[in-house]
Symmetry: C2
Subunit: 411 residues, 2 copies
């Protein structure tokens, strides 16, 4: 089978490298006849590239070449990736991608198009980089009702939070450091604001719960407001703050989907996921909790996942793999404040009167301390409560100013 | 498709529970027509069991029923599990198992028999209980050359070591506690001596490196000789002792396969794997390190993996999945002391003369301390060295008595 790669950026060039470097192992281990790279499409010129004879700027070369059975789309963005993918699938060619934005937005549509044309649309690399997660959810956990899926899905923000937690670095300094190291982009908005993680939790929720969830249905809160005060108070509680994307079944059958800073207790596998690493937890009704950990980004790890999909397409020519990904249902995603959890709260302007009120309304709270705490600063963790109820109760307490309100996870 | 379960013990009854409890979800999520439990085979009577009309004591009922497409073998042991499995596969029925002893000993043979008869032999539950690991190695990591696979593969010993590390409990006391909790059997030999983990590392090595490795080719050392002194010295090094099963490619192309206590540094995902949990690390040349964490045993988690295989068999009737598992090659497994690593050593009868010798032969060592250390007790960690060379050098130092020699892992 012949392969084409569209988009010769970091991931695309990694795919080419893995395809060529591990070619013999790949063909032997997977009992394939052949797996040969035929085209690389990019609008830029790469005159010094060792594969320069494979380059083309004309998409039709790939679309119309009947030898090409699998195309790797590593362009990113919705347009023209969506149009290219649609045309390829319509011709019965399988498409493999790391493009989470496109999968989160158009996954259902493209999966259906693949099915109609006896092709495959695969996207293992779109979540968690090199970490196997899409396939395990579909195959290995297929006997479970999935209760929750949650994870550290963005390496940039996890690097920044790790620096704040371990080195007491301020967010601005940690962000600068991340940019210097190439872990954060010049414009880090999509990472810092949780948009990137939001796309990934959509894809995971789609597969775990069987209905398409759009990014704008996910409550998304980034790490911008997390301070070193929060980091220290949470340390006193025996936890760390991580940016967690999660989708969870609630008692009425709907799901809550959100990306937001969350408190993770220290002995959790997610708490020890540091730096640019990612980890994804799946909670099934038979399995209990399983965690998948590894490099969530980077050239070769991501390419590892892309090429695994290419191999799978080559193994299953003419046969579409079934994914439990249904159409969007508008009311399937509930407001995120219906989640029930313990919450960490940092408040100001607290006086004896408001303390008595807090006590009366919330019952048992665990008060936290930090070094150099300012006199009117008050931090605590509640018992388990529905977020909506908590916010209502806190709203009743006159002058108190709430600066942070962060759920404590139970994994 | 109709299913039969052979062996109604902990795992077998869990399989029945998951098949019945999650039936609707399973059929819907996996687009199956039907997946119905038809027989349960056990030599014992279960007069009060809600499924009692499904019981049989005659294996031929299952073997000769053409409706039965998948059989779950959860008997354990080699005989008669091997004979039953062979007969079923010969009739073109797929077999799913959690029987690590049988897979480790006869995997290659049974996989070939399955292939000849267009059936499948699947064993996701044989390693890591509910943790997806067999399928990820085969599919998700298929683009990688695997460099090493290593893990905490036995919950009983991990529970005991965790009690020693966290609570300063003696090994005997921790073992008794494990037996009380049902985590260890009355005769705990297979767990404590590393035999159980040895079978599992065989299965992982077979899939990672493509040749059958027999349990007697794996250097197997249990936890019997680990003391609280070791636990404390290793703490001073910033690590913990875990029983690790590993298979690793060495520079001459062969592999080393072993089960033995190993020092894991504290920030590793394997270090924070506590109690009865398991974790498996896979190091690929593109992926880097990925870790799979979860419940390595237990009724429902193990059943979760078994039923996932059953579903996979139902989805792929008449089509054998390809596994990269080749024949045994006697010389493929090298002596385990060819591994190169840093080593933790605890020694006695050390005097000024032997210290000078140590210094001369080993160069840089890091000396460790513990509370209430006895005057002639001396513990240290070496630089990276091949184990064989280290043992030779230590053998040259006259009176020194080596009590512990434990590799330090680099993951």
């Amino acid at each position: 089978m012949k392969v084409a790669v569209i988009g010769y950026g970091t991931v695309g060039s990694g795919v080419v490298e893995v395809l060529l470097r591990n070619h013999d192992t790949i063909v032997r281990r997977n009992s394939l006849d052949e797996l040969e790279l035929k085209y690389i499409l990019d609008i830029r010129d790469f005159p010094l590239d060792p594969n320069k004879e494979k380059f083309t700027k004309d998409f039709n070369d790939i679309l119309n070449d009947e030898e090409v059975g699998v195309v790797v789309e590593t362009m990113g963005g919705i347009h023209p990736a969506f149009e290219f993918t649609s045309q390829l699938l319509s011709k019965g060619k399988s498409v493999v991608t790391s493009n989470k934005e496109l999968v989160a937005q158009k996954g259902f549509e493209l999966l259906n198009l693949a099915k109609e044309n006896k092709a495959n649309y695969m996207f293992e690399a779109s979540v968690g980089g090199g970490i196997p997660i899409i396939r395990p959810i579909n195959n290995c956990l297929s006997a479970n009702e999935i209760i929750e899926i949650a994870g550290i899905l963005n390496g940039t923000t996890n690097y920044i939070l790790t620096k704040m937690i371990n080195d007491g670095m301020s967010m601005d300094e940690a962000l600068m450091r991340a940019q210097q190291k190439g872990y954060a982009e010049k414009d880090p908005t999509a990472d810092i604001e949780g948009i990137d993680a939001g796309r990934k939790i959509c894809i995971l929720a789609d597969l775990a719960f069987g209905k398409h969830v759009f990014p704008d249905q996910v409550y998304t809160q980034g790490i911008r407001d997390i301070t070193l005060e929060d980091v220290e108070f949470v340390k006193d509680f025996g936890g760390v703050i991580k940016l967690i994307g999660s989708a969870k079944r609630i008692p009425d059958g709907r799901i809550c989907a959100q990306v937001r800073p969350s408190v993770i207790l220290k002995n959790s596998q997610l708490a020890t996921t540091s730096g640019v690493f990612n980890a994804i937890l799946v909670r099934g009704n038979a399995l209990g909790d399983a965690v998948f950990y590894g490099r969530g980004a980077g050239k070769l790890p991501t390419a590892s996942a892309v090429v695994a999909d290419v191999i799978d397409c080559a193994r299953h020519q003419g046969k579409t793999k079934i994914l439990p990904w249904g159409e969007n249902e508008k009311d399937f995603v509930a407001p995120n404040d219906l989640i029930s959890a313990r919450f960490y709260v940092r408040a100001y302007n607290v006086n004896d009167g408001s303390l008595a009120e807090l006590d009366r309304l919330l019952g048992n709270i665990r008060v936290l301390e930090r070094k150099n705490q300012s006199p009117d600063e008050f931090a605590f963790v509640t018992e388990e409560i529905v977020e909506k109820d908590l916010r209502e109760k806190l709203g009743k307490i006159g002058s108190v100013e709430i600066k942070s309100l962060i759920p404590v996870t139970d994994y």
